[in-house]
Amino acid sequence: MDRSQIFEAVGRRLLAARNDDGGFGPGPAAPSEPEPTALAAIALDDDGARRWLIGRQRDDGSFGVVQGFVRDEGSTCLAAIAAGPGAVRERALDRLEDLEAEPVTPSEAVPLDGSIRGWPWVGGTAGWVEPTARSLLALRLYRPGSPRIADAVAYLRDRRCVGGGWNYGNQVVLDEVLPPFAHTTAAALLGLHGVDAALEWEGAARLRGLWRRERAGGLSVAFSLAVFRIRGERDQAAAATEALADVVARTDLLGDPVAAGWAAIATGPGVHELESP
Protein backbone atom coordinates (compact mmCIF):
# COMPACT_ATOMS: atom_id res chain seq x y z
CA MET A 1 0.00 0.00 0.00
CA ASP A 2 1.22 3.48 -0.77
CA ARG A 3 0.31 6.44 1.39
CA SER A 4 -2.95 7.24 -0.37
CA GLN A 5 -4.02 3.61 -0.16
CA ILE A 6 -3.38 3.55 3.58
CA PHE A 7 -5.40 6.73 3.91
CA GLU A 8 -8.27 5.20 1.96
CA ALA A 9 -8.19 1.99 3.95
CA VAL A 10 -8.12 3.54 7.42
CA GLY A 11 -10.49 6.33 6.35
CA ARG A 12 -13.01 3.78 5.13
CA ARG A 13 -12.66 1.90 8.36
CA LEU A 14 -13.15 5.02 10.41
CA LEU A 15 -16.25 6.05 8.49
CA ALA A 16 -17.73 2.60 8.90
CA ALA A 17 -17.35 2.99 12.66
CA ARG A 18 -19.19 6.30 12.86
CA ASN A 19 -21.96 6.30 15.42
CA ASP A 20 -25.51 7.35 14.55
CA ASP A 21 -25.04 10.63 16.38
CA GLY A 22 -22.26 11.63 13.96
CA GLY A 23 -19.42 11.17 16.40
CA PHE A 24 -16.84 8.45 16.84
CA GLY A 25 -16.21 6.17 19.76
CA PRO A 26 -12.90 5.03 21.22
CA GLY A 27 -13.59 1.46 20.10
CA PRO A 28 -16.15 -0.80 18.48
CA ALA A 29 -19.67 -0.22 19.81
CA ALA A 30 -18.49 2.52 22.15
CA PRO A 31 -20.42 5.79 22.46
CA SER A 32 -18.92 8.85 20.80
CA GLU A 33 -16.20 10.69 22.67
CA PRO A 34 -14.31 13.93 21.94
CA GLU A 35 -10.84 12.52 21.23
CA PRO A 36 -11.64 10.00 18.48
CA THR A 37 -14.23 12.37 17.04
CA ALA A 38 -11.74 15.25 16.88
CA LEU A 39 -9.18 13.00 15.21
CA ALA A 40 -11.73 11.85 12.63
CA ALA A 41 -12.77 15.45 11.96
CA ILE A 42 -9.16 16.45 11.34
CA ALA A 43 -8.26 13.37 9.33
CA LEU A 44 -11.33 13.28 7.13
CA ASP A 45 -12.36 16.97 7.21
CA ASP A 46 -15.66 15.59 8.37
CA ASP A 47 -18.49 18.01 9.09
CA GLY A 48 -20.59 15.44 10.92
CA ALA A 49 -17.81 14.79 13.38
CA ARG A 50 -17.22 18.51 13.73
CA ARG A 51 -20.89 19.13 14.50
CA TRP A 52 -20.94 16.41 17.14
CA LEU A 53 -17.84 17.86 18.70
CA ILE A 54 -19.00 21.46 18.76
CA GLY A 55 -22.15 20.41 20.54
CA ARG A 56 -20.11 18.89 23.36
CA GLN A 57 -18.07 21.89 24.39
CA ARG A 58 -18.31 22.44 28.12
CA ASP A 59 -19.18 25.80 29.63
CA ASP A 60 -15.55 26.51 30.43
CA GLY A 61 -14.52 25.92 26.81
CA SER A 62 -13.04 22.48 27.35
CA PHE A 63 -13.86 19.14 25.76
CA GLY A 64 -13.55 15.74 27.30
CA VAL A 65 -15.19 13.11 29.36
CA VAL A 66 -16.10 14.02 32.92
CA GLN A 67 -16.64 10.91 34.94
CA GLY A 68 -17.27 11.66 38.55
CA PHE A 69 -14.10 12.75 40.24
CA VAL A 70 -12.12 12.31 37.02
CA ARG A 71 -12.20 15.15 34.51
CA ASP A 72 -10.41 14.47 31.23
CA GLU A 73 -8.47 17.52 30.08
CA GLY A 74 -6.50 15.88 27.28
CA SER A 75 -8.97 16.32 24.42
CA THR A 76 -9.47 20.09 24.35
CA CYS A 77 -6.38 20.72 22.22
CA LEU A 78 -7.44 18.29 19.50
CA ALA A 79 -10.98 19.67 19.58
CA ALA A 80 -9.63 23.21 19.18
CA ILE A 81 -7.89 22.11 15.99
CA ALA A 82 -10.83 20.09 14.72
CA ALA A 83 -13.50 22.69 15.43
CA GLY A 84 -12.33 25.10 12.73
CA PRO A 85 -12.19 28.88 12.97
CA GLY A 86 -14.71 30.58 15.21
CA ALA A 87 -15.95 31.03 18.72
CA VAL A 88 -15.75 27.37 19.67
CA ARG A 89 -12.06 27.20 18.84
CA GLU A 90 -11.35 30.49 20.60
CA ARG A 91 -13.09 29.37 23.78
CA ALA A 92 -11.15 26.10 23.67
CA LEU A 93 -7.90 28.02 23.28
CA ASP A 94 -8.88 30.29 26.19
CA ARG A 95 -9.35 27.18 28.26
CA LEU A 96 -5.97 25.81 27.25
CA GLU A 97 -4.32 29.07 28.19
CA ASP A 98 -6.01 28.99 31.60
CA LEU A 99 -5.34 25.34 32.35
CA GLU A 100 -2.33 24.44 34.43
CA ALA A 101 -1.29 21.17 36.00
CA GLU A 102 -0.67 20.97 39.70
CA PRO A 103 2.88 21.65 40.89
CA VAL A 104 4.87 18.62 41.94
CA THR A 105 7.49 18.33 44.63
CA PRO A 106 10.86 17.33 43.22
CA SER A 107 12.88 14.79 45.12
CA GLU A 108 16.18 12.99 44.85
CA ALA A 109 14.27 9.99 43.61
CA VAL A 110 12.49 11.88 40.83
CA PRO A 111 14.54 14.98 40.03
CA LEU A 112 12.66 17.54 37.98
CA ASP A 113 11.74 21.20 38.09
CA GLY A 114 8.43 21.01 39.90
CA SER A 115 7.66 24.65 39.26
CA ILE A 116 7.19 23.96 35.56
CA ARG A 117 3.71 22.60 35.47
CA GLY A 118 2.69 21.72 31.95
CA TRP A 119 -0.78 20.36 31.19
CA PRO A 120 -2.43 17.33 32.84
CA TRP A 121 -4.42 14.43 31.48
CA VAL A 122 -6.85 14.79 34.36
CA GLY A 123 -7.75 18.04 36.05
CA GLY A 124 -6.14 18.59 39.42
CA THR A 125 -3.15 16.32 38.76
CA ALA A 126 0.43 16.67 37.50
CA GLY A 127 1.48 17.63 34.00
CA TRP A 128 2.67 15.08 31.43
CA VAL A 129 4.37 15.16 28.07
CA GLU A 130 1.54 14.28 25.71
CA PRO A 131 -1.15 16.66 26.99
CA THR A 132 1.48 19.41 27.22
CA ALA A 133 2.63 18.73 23.67
CA ARG A 134 -0.95 18.71 22.41
CA SER A 135 -1.64 22.03 24.10
CA LEU A 136 1.53 23.48 22.61
CA LEU A 137 0.42 22.28 19.19
CA ALA A 138 -2.94 24.06 19.42
CA LEU A 139 -1.39 27.23 20.79
CA ARG A 140 1.43 27.42 18.25
CA LEU A 141 -1.11 26.96 15.46
CA TYR A 142 -3.71 29.47 16.57
CA ARG A 143 -2.26 31.60 19.38
CA PRO A 144 1.39 31.98 18.38
CA GLY A 145 1.77 34.91 20.72
CA SER A 146 0.48 33.07 23.77
CA PRO A 147 2.71 33.40 26.83
CA ARG A 148 1.89 29.76 27.67
CA ILE A 149 3.95 28.58 24.70
CA ALA A 150 7.07 29.35 26.70
CA ASP A 151 5.68 27.27 29.60
CA ALA A 152 5.11 24.31 27.33
CA VAL A 153 8.57 24.53 25.82
CA ALA A 154 10.13 24.83 29.27
CA TYR A 155 8.21 21.75 30.40
CA LEU A 156 9.33 19.71 27.40
CA ARG A 157 12.90 20.87 27.85
CA ASP A 158 12.88 19.86 31.52
CA ARG A 159 11.28 16.47 30.94
CA ARG A 160 13.20 15.35 27.88
CA CYS A 161 15.12 12.12 28.22
CA VAL A 162 18.87 11.96 28.46
CA GLY A 163 20.11 12.09 24.87
CA GLY A 164 16.85 13.54 23.58
CA GLY A 165 13.33 12.32 23.00
CA TRP A 166 10.50 11.92 25.48
CA ASN A 167 8.63 9.27 27.36
CA TYR A 168 5.45 10.05 29.32
CA GLY A 169 7.37 12.57 31.40
CA ASN A 170 10.02 11.17 33.74
CA GLN A 171 13.67 11.51 32.85
CA VAL A 172 15.22 9.75 35.84
CA VAL A 173 13.69 7.68 38.64
CA LEU A 174 15.91 6.41 41.45
CA ASP A 175 19.07 7.11 39.44
CA GLU A 176 17.76 5.03 36.56
CA VAL A 177 17.75 6.91 33.27
CA LEU A 178 14.44 6.16 31.61
CA PRO A 179 14.27 5.73 27.84
CA PRO A 180 12.19 7.77 25.42
CA PHE A 181 9.29 6.30 23.42
CA ALA A 182 8.57 6.91 19.74
CA HIS A 183 4.95 7.89 20.27
CA THR A 184 5.56 10.51 22.95
CA THR A 185 8.66 11.81 21.21
CA ALA A 186 6.64 12.33 18.04
CA ALA A 187 3.83 13.96 20.01
CA ALA A 188 6.32 16.42 21.52
CA LEU A 189 7.76 17.17 18.09
CA LEU A 190 4.33 17.94 16.66
CA GLY A 191 4.02 20.59 19.36
CA LEU A 192 7.54 21.93 19.06
CA HIS A 193 7.68 22.21 15.27
CA GLY A 194 8.94 25.64 14.36
CA VAL A 195 8.90 26.79 17.98
CA ASP A 196 12.29 25.72 19.34
CA ALA A 197 14.74 24.63 16.67
CA ALA A 198 17.38 23.15 18.97
CA LEU A 199 14.95 21.07 21.01
CA GLU A 200 13.15 19.96 17.86
CA TRP A 201 16.41 18.99 16.16
CA GLU A 202 17.53 16.90 19.11
CA GLY A 203 14.17 15.15 19.42
CA ALA A 204 13.91 14.49 15.69
CA ALA A 205 17.35 12.91 15.68
CA ARG A 206 16.22 10.57 18.44
CA LEU A 207 12.94 9.76 16.74
CA ARG A 208 14.71 8.50 13.61
CA GLY A 209 16.05 5.58 15.60
CA LEU A 210 13.15 5.11 17.98
CA TRP A 211 10.37 4.59 15.48
CA ARG A 212 12.25 1.80 13.74
CA ARG A 213 12.65 -0.05 17.03
CA GLU A 214 8.97 0.45 17.80
CA ARG A 215 7.60 -0.21 14.33
CA ALA A 216 5.38 -2.98 15.69
CA GLY A 217 3.09 -0.31 17.10
CA GLY A 218 0.66 1.37 14.74
CA LEU A 219 0.18 4.44 16.89
CA SER A 220 3.93 5.00 17.22
CA VAL A 221 4.52 4.67 13.49
CA ALA A 222 1.53 6.91 12.60
CA PHE A 223 2.70 9.68 14.92
CA SER A 224 6.25 9.38 13.59
CA LEU A 225 5.07 9.55 9.99
CA ALA A 226 3.10 12.72 10.74
CA VAL A 227 6.26 14.29 12.17
CA PHE A 228 8.42 13.28 9.22
CA ARG A 229 5.92 14.66 6.73
CA ILE A 230 5.60 17.95 8.57
CA ARG A 231 9.37 18.26 8.84
CA GLY A 232 9.88 17.34 5.19
CA GLU A 233 12.02 14.28 6.01
CA ARG A 234 11.16 12.37 2.88
CA ASP A 235 13.32 9.29 3.34
CA GLN A 236 12.11 8.75 6.88
CA ALA A 237 8.53 9.39 5.78
CA ALA A 238 8.82 6.84 2.98
CA ALA A 239 10.17 4.19 5.33
CA ALA A 240 7.55 4.98 7.97
CA THR A 241 4.82 4.77 5.33
CA GLU A 242 6.02 1.31 4.40
CA ALA A 243 6.03 0.26 8.06
CA LEU A 244 2.56 1.67 8.62
CA ALA A 245 1.23 -0.16 5.56
CA ASP A 246 2.58 -3.38 7.03
CA VAL A 247 1.00 -2.80 10.45
CA VAL A 248 -2.35 -1.84 8.95
CA ALA A 249 -2.39 -4.84 6.63
CA ARG A 250 -1.32 -7.29 9.32
CA THR A 251 -3.28 -6.07 12.31
CA ASP A 252 -5.78 -3.41 11.26
CA LEU A 253 -4.29 -1.41 14.15
CA LEU A 254 -6.08 -3.79 16.54
CA GLY A 255 -9.31 -1.92 15.83
CA ASP A 256 -8.18 1.18 17.72
CA PRO A 257 -9.97 4.24 16.29
CA VAL A 258 -7.43 6.60 17.85
CA ALA A 259 -4.58 4.83 16.10
CA ALA A 260 -6.67 4.79 12.92
CA GLY A 261 -7.36 8.51 13.29
CA TRP A 262 -3.66 9.28 13.60
CA ALA A 263 -2.86 6.95 10.71
CA ALA A 264 -5.39 8.80 8.55
CA ILE A 265 -3.97 12.17 9.59
CA ALA A 266 -0.41 11.02 8.92
CA THR A 267 -1.21 9.68 5.46
CA GLY A 268 -3.79 12.18 4.29
CA PRO A 269 -4.30 15.91 3.88
CA GLY A 270 -5.15 16.29 7.56
CA VAL A 271 -1.46 16.42 8.40
CA HIS A 272 -1.32 19.89 6.89
CA GLU A 273 -3.70 21.07 9.62
CA LEU A 274 -0.86 20.41 12.05
CA GLU A 275 1.77 22.39 10.14
CA SER A 276 0.75 26.02 10.39
CA PRO A 277 -2.51 27.89 9.91
Binding site: G25, P26, G27, P28, A29, A30, P31, E33, E35, V65, Q67, G68, F69, V70, D72, G74, E102, S107, A109, V110, P120, W121, V122, G124, T125, A126, W128, E130, P131, N167, Y168, V173, L174, E176, L178, F181, A182, H183, E214, A216, G217, G218, L219, S220, V247, T251, L253, L254, G255, D256, P257, V258, A259
Partner: protein, 343 residues
Protein backbone atom coordinates in the same frame (compact mmCIF):
# COMPACT_ATOMS: atom_id res chain seq x y z
CA UNK B 1 -19.74 -21.79 38.14
CA UNK B 2 -21.98 -20.77 41.01
CA UNK B 3 -25.14 -19.42 39.50
CA UNK B 4 -26.34 -17.10 42.21
CA UNK B 5 -26.05 -16.23 45.87
CA UNK B 6 -22.99 -15.63 47.98
CA UNK B 7 -19.92 -17.72 47.28
CA UNK B 8 -18.06 -19.73 49.88
CA UNK B 9 -16.51 -16.52 51.20
CA UNK B 10 -19.96 -15.08 51.63
CA UNK B 11 -19.33 -12.81 48.65
CA UNK B 12 -21.94 -11.96 46.11
CA UNK B 13 -20.81 -13.40 42.75
CA UNK B 14 -19.08 -10.92 40.44
CA UNK B 15 -21.84 -10.39 37.95
CA UNK B 16 -24.38 -9.53 40.60
CA UNK B 17 -21.79 -7.64 42.58
CA UNK B 18 -20.82 -5.31 39.77
CA UNK B 19 -24.37 -4.83 38.62
CA UNK B 20 -25.40 -3.97 42.15
CA UNK B 21 -22.58 -1.46 42.18
CA UNK B 22 -24.16 0.42 39.30
CA UNK B 23 -24.95 4.05 38.74
CA UNK B 24 -26.64 6.11 41.37
CA UNK B 25 -25.59 4.21 44.47
CA UNK B 26 -23.12 6.67 45.83
CA UNK B 27 -21.21 5.46 48.82
CA UNK B 28 -22.08 7.69 51.70
CA UNK B 29 -18.64 7.95 53.25
CA UNK B 30 -16.34 10.90 53.09
CA UNK B 31 -13.25 10.96 50.92
CA UNK B 32 -10.17 9.47 52.44
CA UNK B 33 -7.41 11.53 50.87
CA UNK B 34 -4.66 11.92 53.38
CA UNK B 35 -5.03 8.52 55.00
CA UNK B 36 -1.57 7.02 55.20
CA UNK B 37 -1.00 3.33 54.95
CA UNK B 38 2.41 1.69 54.81
CA UNK B 39 2.43 0.63 58.42
CA UNK B 40 -0.14 3.11 59.67
CA UNK B 41 -3.27 1.26 58.73
CA UNK B 42 -6.53 2.93 59.60
CA UNK B 43 -7.58 1.89 63.07
CA UNK B 44 -11.04 3.36 62.94
CA UNK B 45 -14.10 1.75 61.43
CA UNK B 46 -13.91 0.14 58.05
CA UNK B 47 -13.78 2.17 54.90
CA UNK B 48 -15.76 -0.42 53.00
CA UNK B 49 -19.36 -1.25 52.41
CA UNK B 50 -20.15 -3.84 55.11
CA UNK B 51 -22.93 -5.33 53.01
CA UNK B 52 -20.49 -6.15 50.22
CA UNK B 53 -17.76 -7.69 52.31
CA UNK B 54 -18.39 -10.34 54.87
CA UNK B 55 -15.42 -11.27 57.06
CA UNK B 56 -12.87 -13.09 54.87
CA UNK B 57 -13.19 -16.87 54.92
CA UNK B 58 -10.46 -19.47 54.45
CA UNK B 59 -8.46 -19.16 51.25
CA UNK B 60 -6.70 -21.69 49.04
CA UNK B 61 -3.32 -20.94 47.55
CA UNK B 62 -1.11 -23.26 45.52
CA UNK B 63 2.62 -22.63 45.18
CA UNK B 64 3.98 -24.53 42.21
CA UNK B 65 7.51 -25.04 40.94
CA UNK B 66 8.41 -24.38 37.31
CA UNK B 67 11.89 -24.65 35.85
CA UNK B 68 11.20 -22.14 33.12
CA UNK B 69 8.72 -21.14 30.47
CA UNK B 70 9.64 -24.00 28.17
CA UNK B 71 8.00 -26.82 30.11
CA UNK B 72 4.44 -28.04 30.12
CA UNK B 73 2.90 -24.88 31.52
CA UNK B 74 -0.58 -25.92 30.51
CA UNK B 75 -0.37 -28.98 32.75
CA UNK B 76 1.10 -26.92 35.56
CA UNK B 77 -1.66 -24.31 35.37
CA UNK B 78 -4.29 -26.99 35.16
CA UNK B 79 -2.85 -28.66 38.24
CA UNK B 80 -2.87 -25.39 40.15
CA UNK B 81 -6.37 -24.42 39.15
CA UNK B 82 -7.64 -27.86 40.13
CA UNK B 83 -5.78 -27.66 43.46
CA UNK B 84 -7.55 -24.45 44.39
CA UNK B 85 -10.83 -25.86 43.07
CA UNK B 86 -11.30 -23.06 40.58
CA UNK B 87 -14.87 -23.03 39.37
CA UNK B 88 -14.94 -21.80 35.78
CA UNK B 89 -17.21 -24.32 34.09
CA UNK B 90 -19.51 -22.51 31.70
CA UNK B 91 -18.08 -19.14 32.68
CA UNK B 92 -16.86 -16.24 30.59
CA UNK B 93 -13.37 -15.55 31.91
CA UNK B 94 -11.39 -12.33 31.70
CA UNK B 95 -7.63 -12.74 32.13
CA UNK B 96 -5.66 -9.65 33.04
CA UNK B 97 -1.88 -10.00 32.64
CA UNK B 98 0.53 -7.24 33.60
CA UNK B 99 1.83 -5.40 30.50
CA UNK B 100 3.76 -2.26 31.25
CA UNK B 101 6.58 -1.61 28.83
CA UNK B 102 8.87 -3.72 26.71
CA UNK B 103 12.57 -4.15 27.35
CA UNK B 104 14.11 -7.35 26.01
CA UNK B 105 16.60 -7.42 28.87
CA UNK B 106 14.08 -7.17 31.70
CA UNK B 107 11.17 -9.33 32.86
CA UNK B 108 8.67 -6.50 33.09
CA UNK B 109 5.56 -8.23 31.80
CA UNK B 110 3.64 -11.38 32.62
CA UNK B 111 5.18 -13.88 30.24
CA UNK B 112 3.04 -14.48 27.16
CA UNK B 113 3.56 -18.24 27.36
CA UNK B 114 2.02 -18.54 30.79
CA UNK B 115 -0.93 -16.38 29.73
CA UNK B 116 -1.61 -18.60 26.73
CA UNK B 117 -1.17 -21.74 28.84
CA UNK B 118 -3.65 -20.41 31.38
CA UNK B 119 -6.20 -19.77 28.67
CA UNK B 120 -5.90 -23.36 27.47
CA UNK B 121 -6.13 -24.72 31.02
CA UNK B 122 -9.27 -22.66 31.64
CA UNK B 123 -10.85 -24.08 28.53
CA UNK B 124 -10.01 -27.57 29.65
CA UNK B 125 -11.79 -26.81 32.89
CA UNK B 126 -14.86 -25.89 30.90
CA UNK B 127 -14.70 -22.12 30.61
CA UNK B 128 -17.19 -20.99 28.00
CA UNK B 129 -14.91 -18.22 26.77
CA UNK B 130 -11.60 -16.61 27.66
CA UNK B 131 -10.59 -13.03 26.85
CA UNK B 132 -7.28 -11.40 27.64
CA UNK B 133 -7.03 -7.64 28.02
CA UNK B 134 -4.98 -4.82 29.46
CA UNK B 135 -4.68 -1.03 29.64
CA UNK B 136 -1.01 -0.27 30.37
CA UNK B 137 -0.14 2.73 32.46
CA UNK B 138 2.80 4.21 30.57
CA UNK B 139 2.38 3.21 27.00
CA UNK B 140 -0.55 4.32 24.97
CA UNK B 141 0.68 2.19 22.09
CA UNK B 142 -0.49 -1.11 23.50
CA UNK B 143 0.00 -2.77 20.14
CA UNK B 144 3.73 -2.16 20.38
CA UNK B 145 4.04 -3.60 23.90
CA UNK B 146 1.75 -6.57 23.29
CA UNK B 147 3.43 -7.50 20.01
CA UNK B 148 6.98 -7.18 21.30
CA UNK B 149 6.10 -9.04 24.49
CA UNK B 150 4.92 -11.89 22.27
CA UNK B 151 1.37 -11.77 23.57
CA UNK B 152 -0.39 -11.15 20.27
CA UNK B 153 1.22 -14.16 18.61
CA UNK B 154 0.91 -16.39 21.68
CA UNK B 155 -2.80 -15.72 21.98
CA UNK B 156 -3.42 -16.01 18.24
CA UNK B 157 -1.81 -19.44 18.36
CA UNK B 158 -4.41 -20.63 20.87
CA UNK B 159 -7.23 -18.61 19.33
CA UNK B 160 -7.82 -16.36 22.32
CA UNK B 161 -8.93 -12.77 21.69
CA UNK B 162 -6.93 -9.87 23.07
CA UNK B 163 -8.67 -6.59 23.84
CA UNK B 164 -7.22 -3.16 24.39
CA UNK B 165 -9.10 -1.96 27.46
CA UNK B 166 -8.50 1.63 26.37
CA UNK B 167 -10.87 1.19 23.45
CA UNK B 168 -13.80 -0.46 25.15
CA UNK B 169 -17.08 1.11 26.21
CA UNK B 170 -16.92 1.80 29.93
CA UNK B 171 -19.47 1.37 32.67
CA UNK B 172 -19.69 3.29 35.88
CA UNK B 173 -19.19 1.09 38.91
CA UNK B 174 -19.63 2.26 42.44
CA UNK B 175 -16.60 1.93 44.62
CA UNK B 176 -17.28 -0.47 47.47
CA UNK B 177 -14.65 1.12 49.63
CA UNK B 178 -13.63 4.71 50.21
CA UNK B 179 -9.90 4.87 50.69
CA UNK B 180 -9.81 7.45 47.89
CA UNK B 181 -12.32 10.16 47.08
CA UNK B 182 -12.96 8.58 43.65
CA UNK B 183 -16.35 7.24 44.72
CA UNK B 184 -16.87 5.46 41.43
CA UNK B 185 -14.75 3.77 38.81
CA UNK B 186 -15.11 3.44 35.06
CA UNK B 187 -14.47 -0.11 34.01
CA UNK B 188 -14.39 -1.67 30.56
CA UNK B 189 -17.53 -3.58 29.69
CA UNK B 190 -15.70 -6.84 29.06
CA UNK B 191 -14.42 -6.76 32.63
CA UNK B 192 -17.80 -5.89 34.11
CA UNK B 193 -19.56 -8.53 32.02
CA UNK B 194 -17.15 -11.38 32.75
CA UNK B 195 -18.36 -14.12 35.07
CA UNK B 196 -14.84 -14.70 36.32
CA UNK B 197 -11.93 -12.25 36.44
CA UNK B 198 -8.39 -13.44 36.97
CA UNK B 199 -5.57 -11.08 37.87
CA UNK B 200 -2.32 -12.39 36.45
CA UNK B 201 0.62 -10.28 37.55
CA UNK B 202 4.36 -10.63 37.34
CA UNK B 203 6.07 -11.17 40.69
CA UNK B 204 7.92 -7.87 41.13
CA UNK B 205 9.10 -5.37 43.64
CA UNK B 206 7.70 -1.87 43.25
CA UNK B 207 9.36 1.39 44.20
CA UNK B 208 6.07 3.03 45.15
CA UNK B 209 4.11 0.16 46.66
CA UNK B 210 6.72 -2.29 47.93
CA UNK B 211 5.50 -5.20 45.83
CA UNK B 212 3.28 -5.36 42.77
CA UNK B 213 1.17 -8.48 42.59
CA UNK B 214 -2.45 -9.28 41.79
CA UNK B 215 -3.98 -6.32 43.67
CA UNK B 216 -1.69 -3.68 42.17
CA UNK B 217 -2.22 -5.31 38.77
CA UNK B 218 -5.81 -4.09 39.00
CA UNK B 219 -4.65 -0.58 37.98
CA UNK B 220 -4.53 -1.96 34.46
CA UNK B 221 -8.28 -2.52 34.37
CA UNK B 222 -8.80 1.24 34.19
CA UNK B 223 -8.62 2.80 30.73
CA UNK B 224 -5.96 5.42 30.13
CA UNK B 225 -8.28 7.46 27.97
CA UNK B 226 -10.11 8.36 31.16
CA UNK B 227 -7.37 8.11 33.77
CA UNK B 228 -4.39 9.21 31.62
CA UNK B 229 -0.94 7.88 30.71
CA UNK B 230 0.26 7.48 33.41
CA UNK B 231 -2.88 7.14 35.52
CA UNK B 232 -1.61 9.94 37.66
CA UNK B 233 -4.94 10.62 39.29
CA UNK B 234 -4.58 7.26 41.05
CA UNK B 235 -1.21 8.32 42.42
CA UNK B 236 -2.59 11.73 43.29
CA UNK B 237 -5.22 10.23 45.57
CA UNK B 238 -2.73 7.76 47.00
CA UNK B 239 -1.34 4.64 45.35
CA UNK B 240 -2.14 2.31 48.21
CA UNK B 241 -5.60 3.80 48.60
CA UNK B 242 -6.22 3.36 44.90
CA UNK B 243 -5.03 -0.24 44.98
CA UNK B 244 -7.58 -0.94 47.69
CA UNK B 245 -10.49 0.80 46.01
CA UNK B 246 -9.83 -0.66 42.57
CA UNK B 247 -9.23 -4.21 43.79
CA UNK B 248 -12.36 -3.95 45.94
CA UNK B 249 -14.41 -2.71 42.98
CA UNK B 250 -13.14 -5.23 40.43
CA UNK B 251 -12.76 -8.00 42.97
CA UNK B 252 -10.92 -10.58 40.90
CA UNK B 253 -12.03 -14.12 41.58
CA UNK B 254 -8.61 -15.71 41.22
CA UNK B 255 -5.01 -14.70 40.99
CA UNK B 256 -2.15 -16.35 39.13
CA UNK B 257 1.27 -14.85 39.83
CA UNK B 258 4.03 -15.39 37.30
CA UNK B 259 7.10 -15.80 39.47
CA UNK B 260 8.96 -18.11 37.13
CA UNK B 261 11.16 -15.14 36.41
CA UNK B 262 10.36 -12.17 38.62
CA UNK B 263 11.90 -8.77 39.20
CA UNK B 264 13.78 -7.48 42.24
CA UNK B 265 15.30 -4.14 43.16
CA UNK B 266 14.07 -1.08 41.31
CA UNK B 267 10.82 -2.58 40.05
CA UNK B 268 8.38 -2.51 38.42
CA UNK B 269 10.38 -1.60 35.30
CA UNK B 270 14.05 -1.08 36.01
CA UNK B 271 14.82 -3.95 38.37
CA UNK B 272 16.81 -7.12 37.82
CA UNK B 273 15.57 -10.57 36.85
CA UNK B 274 15.10 -13.24 39.52
CA UNK B 275 14.73 -16.83 38.42
CA UNK B 276 12.44 -17.76 41.29
CA UNK B 277 10.84 -20.66 39.41
CA UNK B 278 7.46 -20.21 41.06
CA UNK B 279 3.84 -19.87 40.08
CA UNK B 280 1.32 -18.89 42.75
CA UNK B 281 -2.37 -19.57 42.19
CA UNK B 282 -5.12 -18.67 44.61
CA UNK B 283 -8.83 -18.16 45.01
CA UNK B 284 -8.35 -14.96 47.00
CA UNK B 285 -6.24 -12.07 45.71
CA UNK B 286 -5.22 -10.91 49.17
CA UNK B 287 -4.15 -14.36 50.30
CA UNK B 288 -2.36 -14.99 47.01
CA UNK B 289 -0.48 -11.71 47.28
CA UNK B 290 0.36 -12.42 50.91
CA UNK B 291 1.84 -15.79 50.00
CA UNK B 292 3.65 -14.35 46.98
CA UNK B 293 5.12 -11.61 49.18
CA UNK B 294 6.24 -14.26 51.65
CA UNK B 295 7.94 -16.14 48.82
CA UNK B 296 9.76 -12.89 47.95
CA UNK B 297 10.98 -12.61 51.53
CA UNK B 298 8.62 -9.75 52.28
CA UNK B 299 6.43 -9.72 55.37
CA UNK B 300 2.88 -9.24 54.02
CA UNK B 301 1.99 -7.17 57.06
CA UNK B 302 4.68 -4.68 56.08
CA UNK B 303 2.84 -3.87 52.86
CA UNK B 304 0.31 -1.30 53.98
CA UNK B 305 -2.38 -1.95 51.40
CA UNK B 306 -2.11 -5.71 51.87
CA UNK B 307 -2.59 -5.49 55.61
CA UNK B 308 -5.57 -3.22 55.13
CA UNK B 309 -7.07 -5.49 52.46
CA UNK B 310 -6.86 -8.34 54.96
CA UNK B 311 -9.48 -6.57 57.04
CA UNK B 312 -12.24 -6.89 54.45
CA UNK B 313 -11.23 -7.95 50.95
CA UNK B 314 -9.48 -11.24 51.53
CA UNK B 315 -7.48 -13.37 53.83
CA UNK B 316 -4.09 -12.41 55.19
CA UNK B 317 -4.09 -14.53 58.32
CA UNK B 318 -1.61 -17.31 57.55
CA UNK B 319 -3.58 -19.80 59.63
CA UNK B 320 -6.59 -19.20 57.41
CA UNK B 321 -4.76 -19.86 54.14
CA UNK B 322 -4.72 -23.49 53.01
CA UNK B 323 -1.57 -24.57 51.20
CA UNK B 324 -2.44 -26.50 48.07
CA UNK B 325 1.07 -26.89 46.71
CA UNK B 326 4.55 -26.38 48.10
CA UNK B 327 4.76 -25.08 51.61
CA UNK B 328 5.47 -21.38 50.98
CA UNK B 329 7.84 -20.95 53.89
CA UNK B 330 10.11 -23.63 52.40
CA UNK B 331 10.14 -22.04 48.96
CA UNK B 332 11.21 -18.51 49.91
CA UNK B 333 13.59 -16.90 47.47
CA UNK B 334 14.30 -13.42 48.89
CA UNK B 335 14.00 -10.56 46.42
CA UNK B 336 16.20 -7.50 46.84
CA UNK B 337 13.77 -4.82 48.00
CA UNK B 338 12.82 -1.83 45.91
CA UNK B 339 14.30 1.47 47.00
CA UNK B 340 11.06 3.15 47.99
CA UNK B 341 10.12 6.49 46.48
CA UNK B 342 8.33 8.68 49.02
CA UNK B 343 4.69 8.97 47.91
Amino acid sequence: MTAAGPDRHGHVPRRGFLKAAGIGLALGTAGAAGLRLGGVASSSGGRWDPEAFLPPDRARVAVLRADGYGGDLEALLLEGLVEIEADVAGASVFLKPNLVEFDPSRPINTDARIVAATAIALRRLGAASVIVGEAPGHRRDLQYVAERAGLIDALAAVDVPFVDLNTEPVRRVRARSSYTPLGELWLPSSVVDADVVISMPKMKTHHWAGVTLSMKNCFGFLPGRIYGWPKNVLHWVGIEHSILDIAAAVRPDYAIVDGIVGMEGNGPISGAAVEAGLVVIGDDVVATDAIAATLMGVDPASIGYLGEAGRFLGQIDRDMIDDRGEEPERAVRPFAPAPLVPA
